[in-house]
Structures are given as C-alpha cells and as structure tokens.
Symmetry: C2
Amino acid sequence: MTREVDVAILGAGSAGLFALSQVKRETENYVLINGGELGTTCARVGCMPSKVLIQVAEDYHRKGIFERHGIEGAVELSIDVPASMEHVQDLRDMFVDRTLGATDDLDEAHLIEGYAKFVANDTVEVNGEQIKAKSIIIATGSAPIVPAAWQAFADDVITTDQFFELEDLPDSMAVIGMGSIGLEIGQSLHRLGIKVAAVDQLNTIAKLEDNEVNDVAVATIGKEFPLWLGEAATLEKIDTGIQVSAGGNQLVVDKVLASLGRKPNLDNLNLEATDIELGEDGVPLYDPLTMQVGDLPIFIAGDVNMDRPLLHEAGHEGRVAGYNAVRPVVNGPIEKFKRKVALGITFCDPNIATVGKQFSELNESDIAIGEIQFAPVGRALIMGKNRGLLRLYVQKSDGLLLGACMCCVKAENLAHLIAWSIQSGMTVFDMLKMPFYHPVIEEALQAALYNVLSKLDIRQDVVELERV
Amino acid sequence: MTREVDVAILGAGSAGLFALSQVKRETENYVLINGGELGTTCARVGCMPSKVLIQVAEDYHRKGIFERHGIEGAVELSIDVPASMEHVQDLRDMFVDRTLGATDDLDEAHLIEGYAKFVANDTVEVNGEQIKAKSIIIATGSAPIVPAAWQAFADDVITTDQFFELEDLPDSMAVIGMGSIGLEIGQSLHRLGIKVAAVDQLNTIAKLEDNEVNDVAVATIGKEFPLWLGEAATLEKIDTGIQVSAGGNQLVVDKVLASLGRKPNLDNLNLEATDIELGEDGVPLYDPLTMQVGDLPIFIAGDVNMDRPLLHEAGHEGRVAGYNAVRPVVNGPIEKFKRKVALGITFCDPNIATVGKQFSELNESDIAIGEIQFAPVGRALIMGKNRGLLRLYVQKSDGLLLGACMCCVKAENLAHLIAWSIQSGMTVFDMLKMPFYHPVIEEALQAALYNVLSKLDIRQDVVELERV
C-alpha cells in the first residue's frame, strides 16, 4: 500500500524542522520521518551542551585574574567535575526538551519514527510502508567520524555523541582534531584540570586560512595548554591507558575524544534507487540557492549536504528547501534565494571567527588588509583579555568590505557587526561613519578600519563625517 | 600685544583634541589653551577608571554562580579593596598617559596652560596675553554638580573628581543620583562589599524613558542592592557619620558620592564680552550640524554644550567644530554634517542601553513595539544572566527600525548592532535576513524582531529569505 503526500521530510533535526515550518504553511498533507532519537544535534550533542561546558570552564579559569584585581583566595577554589557535568546535562536536557516541542504535537500520520529508504525519486519506504511524495527533503544530518583503525580501542575512544553523557571526566584525555569542536572542548577540559593532549595533523586550528591570525591563535591558546600540531596522532593501547603519539610528543591518557569532523548520514538512504548524481565527496549535487538536487523532486538541507554545518545555516537551508518543496501544492515555480554572508565562530578563548570571503575565495592583489593587534585595546586591557588579532579583507578599488578573520575577545559579537556590514554592502568609509561607543571592544574594529585606509586606492576627506 | 592665529581651541579634553586633529590638517597657526590639569575627563575620572572598577566588581560578584557550575570554595574569596583601587589607578594612569601623548609634542607657541576669557567675539585673553583668532572653539568640558546646601558636609561629600583617587573605600557610602555614573559606581561598590544607599528623586534609573524597561531594570538591579527611588535625599551630619534619608529610608554612611549630573564649564569664560546668545539652560545656542554658535566665528563641542556628554559624541562634535573652524583658512564655506544615531550605554549589570529615538521623540500611535524577555534566551541562560528586557520601536507603516531600549546582558554589543542598523536605514525585514549565529545573545534581537512582525501594517511572505 502506498500513501501519497505532498512533502516527505527525512530527518526531524534542525534543518528538517525549519523545512517543516515552511511546508505547514501550504499543506497538512506531509510526513516527517525520523530515524533514531528525536532532538536536534545542536541541542543534544552540539552547540548547546558545549557552550555550557565552555561557560563553566571559563568561570573557573577566570580565577587566574583574581590577584591582579585584588580578589584573594583563588587558590582555595576547586572544581567538582561530576557537579559540573550534571549542570551541563541539566541544561542540555532542557534545551532538548524545547526542540522536542516541535514534534510533540504531531500525530502518527505526520510523524513516523523509523529509517526511510528511497525506492524511487518520489517514493520512500519506512517501517514497511511506501510513501509517495510530490517532494522529498533529505535532512538526515551527520555523524562523527571515527577512523576504522581506532575500532580496536572502541571502549576508550568517544565522540561528542558520548562525551556529554559522561557523569565524570577522566583524569587525562587526548582530543584528536583541532577544528572548532575539538578546540572548544580541549581548552575547556584543560581549564577543568584534565590533563589534555590536543592534536591535529594540520598546522592550523579552527580551519583558519589566514596564517597571521592562525599564528596568533596558536600562540595565545597554545600558551595556555599544549597544542600538538602538524603531525597525525597514532594511538596504542598499553597497560596504563592509551598512548597517544604525534611528532615528538607522547602522553598516556585514559580516554580519546575523536573530533575529526562529521560524515553525512546518506549510507542507508538507498540513493541508488534514485537518479541523484553524487559529487566527488559522495554528497548529492544540489543548487545552494534552491536546495534542489539536480532537477529531481528532491531537496537537501542541513549538515547532510556537508556545506555549512551550522545551526543558522541549517535553518536557512531548511526554510529554502521547505519553501521550494511545497511549491507544487501552490503551483508555484522553484525560487532561488540568496545565501547569508558566511559566519563561523569557534567559542574558544579568545574566540576565533571568520566572516564573509576567506583567502581561498579572494584574489590577494585586489584586496587591502586592515589589522589591529589587541594588546593596546583599552577595553580588552580592562577585561584582562588584550590578546589577539583582527584582520579585515577590503576591496582596494572602492573600500568594500569583503571578509574578516579574527582571534580575539568577543569575536562572536564583532563577527555579527562585520557580517551585517558585509551583507549590507558597506564600505570601510560607511562603517567609520557609524557610532562606536567608548570604551567598547567595537573600537578594535574601528582601529582596523582606520588601519586599512592608507592601503586603499581611494581617499575620502573627512572619513568619519557624513555631509547632510 | 595681540597674537593672531587661525584657530584658538579652549580646552584640551577629548572634544578639543579631536577638533585639533582637523585644524592641523590645514594650518599650523593655532593655539590650544587648557585651564587646569591636562588629560581628558574620560581617561581621568570618567569612562576608563569606572570600567576598571566595574570589571573588578563583576569578577568578584561572579562567585555567586560558582556553586551552580560545580566550582567549590567561593566562600573563601575576599576582596582587598586597597589592592583593587590600586589596580584601578594603575590602569587609569596608563590611559591618562595615552591622552597626554596628544599634547606632549606641542611647543609653548601651540599649547598654553591657563584659563582663557573672551574679550571680544574673536579674541580671548590668557595669562595676560590677547589672542585674536579667525575662529574660536569652546571645548571646556563640564564639572560635577554638588548642591550648595551640601557645602556643610564638604569633607564627606565627593564626586567622581575625587572618587578614583581614594586609596581605600569607606565601609559605607551613599550614592546620590542614579544616572549612568551613579548606577555603575553604586552597584560596583555594593559588589565590593561596601554598604551602599543608592538614591534618586526620580522613579527611573539611567534616565530611562521606557517604563517597561525601567521596571525590569529596577527590579533586577534592585534585587541585588536596595535602590531608594522617588524621593530626594536629605543629608545630616551626626556623630557617627552622615545620615542619609529619602522617603522612609535612612542609613548612616561614612561618605557621600554626589552623582547628580554635570554643569558646563562656562562661568569663567566671560561670555558677556561676546554676542553669544544663551539658551534657557545658560548654554550658547548653536547648530548641532555645524557646531557653530549663532553666526559668530565661535564653535562649541563636547560636554560643555550639554547635549550628548559621551566620548564618541565629543569626538564627532570636535571633528565637526575643527573642520568648520578652519574653513576660513581654505576659504571654504561652513558645512553641515549628519549626527550619528544616538547611542547611550550604562555599564551596570545587566547593561542598560538606549539607541536611536526614545519615547519623547516618537508618536506612539505610529510605532509598533517588538519585545523579548531574557528569561528563556538560551545563551543568556547558559551564562546565568537570563534576566532583562529588550524593546524595539518600529515604524508601523513600513517596518523601519527607529529606536530601542534594553536592560540585558551584552546590551553594549547589541546596541551597536541596532545602532548601525538604524543608521543604515534598515527595516525589521532587512534585519531578519541577516545571519544570527547560534547560540548567541544576538538571537534575543532576532526574537524581538519576530515579535514585532504581527504588529506592523505590512507583511512579507518569507521574512528570513531574500530572493535572488
């Protein structure tokens, strides 16, 4: 028996739920199919619990500034790790509950718990039932990568899927992979008193393309705890634990956190039954402006497409996929929507953030770089966080801001101001006419804007003023 | 003997120094005349030392969250107030030194230390010398107000001019006046363990016009330490100290900090010798777009004009005054420059900020209000700072953002994002198309934008998406 629906959404994670919000505007004849546990990656094992851990670690680490500020007794402070982890889990549970609110009110006809497989371009099978849909949205998310060679240590190697379930933390841990997640968790573990080996085979952290910012980030964060960069890690099980080696470094640890990236959840979808064309990375080829896969009645949104694995991008892609997937219902054409300016934030301390175009997308001869070191930034100095570097990539010919890269305090906030400026099409001259309060971290951005002026092909006479 | 110069600037504070930067572009024939100590109000007794005190107090106060986060030993922490004050003074001295850099390299012909008096529209006298100028800029700043009736307690009443000089703090203090400065210092004193009576004859704090935000601010901040609002304070000298009474409240304190606002430094300028017309408040009438006083060769910039007593506005006004004051040298006309979008921040915790137009400038029937309570904001909850309210004032007819008022965590950063959006002429629809990362405080702004949509006279079909 085949059920016919307008839209079938595979995956009730963030992208799937945002898609659903668009679909529901036009039809009640949809089905949301979810394999595995309900609750989003973001709330269960991603953005949310990691930020709680970071906050706890940051509060504990702050004791290092107490003496400078006249606060006595920092040596008496200690961390009760199980209590900290319980706090992380309490908040995590609350955030998961909130995301479950989106599926709680769906009846059996609309929400199917089970793993869907394609049987044709327009049909999937789940729990023995065939469902034919005018459009199908793939929003099945991703899963952490664990190298096959590490299966031998399976009991001692965990990923973020297990990490936030730990009731206590081991005394020592290796964190393999210094992308955003590994860097955030590695630094937090160190701050909570865990002995950490932080390893990446690359010489960069948080996937930084800007060597100047990477150097500052590695120096600043590496001063706090050792980063083993540039050599792949090898693991060996010995009597006392897992011996982690990379280059000349070696440490025996209790557990290994694999933070080597994520792979798309595509393997069990039986894509072979469809006309989907796969790219070199095994991901369906799709138009990022429509989220449509080829010219099929199939759309793909969220982490599964391996493009921008971020909650707010999953939201954007889910909305676009949902909007276009439901067009047949209203006899409308598929539409193209602009992408948001790229924005990536690693919540380490100092934050690392990238905005807009990065070096691999820029022609270096066309750009001027405005930069500011954070050492003399007044407010950063007051906060005791005056370390870091902010670099702006500016079009030489007209001063248009194209991108930015930074490692500094409050980069998460600066990055929004910069991203919005880029998306609004602002030049550095436009930005210098905006209000910068005093003393605030935004003045570092102002200083970087001033820094670039003399490197541009054009000049303005009174940069900060706008004639009536 | 009369010296002739192109421009005479009265006051080497922030506004005077910004004016100088413009004047120097066109002429070397200027004179900067400064009465009293060199160094800006901002660096000596204003923005900078207050932020250091706030940072110390915030770090110490944070111990209140430690138990929730699994951090043990908070009860062992104590504050060494003289050490804290020494830290405040160390940084203050450094910031003052930086501002002195602007005058250090000026020779006697360019920098005169002394009090100038007008003898004509185009002439001042200082240290017995007459100086005739094509333009004169009044940038003499302001001084704290102390009611005449309090002269009887002169030894026990201080202002911010003396406060940051204290080597230790008294056990108890009254802070009279809950404007920005009083509120910032009062809360910090309380956090450092000083017994504080915080009084204002108004029922508002930080001059809030928005009653909803004021109520939240008073409730949140007043929960931490008692605010005595709505009744004027009376002081009485008794054996054990100064008895402060307001309404039904009474406390005996060691010292009183008067933070009742500031008055312009105009009294000794002998304005009677000029054709300057004064407003009702005794301040010269001037055009805020040119900074010119009447049609005289006189300009006025910075705190002395009693308009926007903020460093970044002193910078703007100084630049405009300097630019226009030096026009005669280049035979150019006086020009009008747009004002920046208004931005006011009180660095209490939670921050209070106002942006753009406030109620007294708005027609309530033309606006819709978008609002968000901070209790459920994810990131704020993680920080343990999920208290507060953000309100956006939006033009009903087209969704144009006109202003905002808020009391919440990181309002200082949100206020920049909002101010830049207003100055760029953005509507709430434009703003909802911008990237909001996750989980960040900027998502509270996003929620407030969503909140206003249903209250507007217009609709968009896919609010977050922009068609190619």
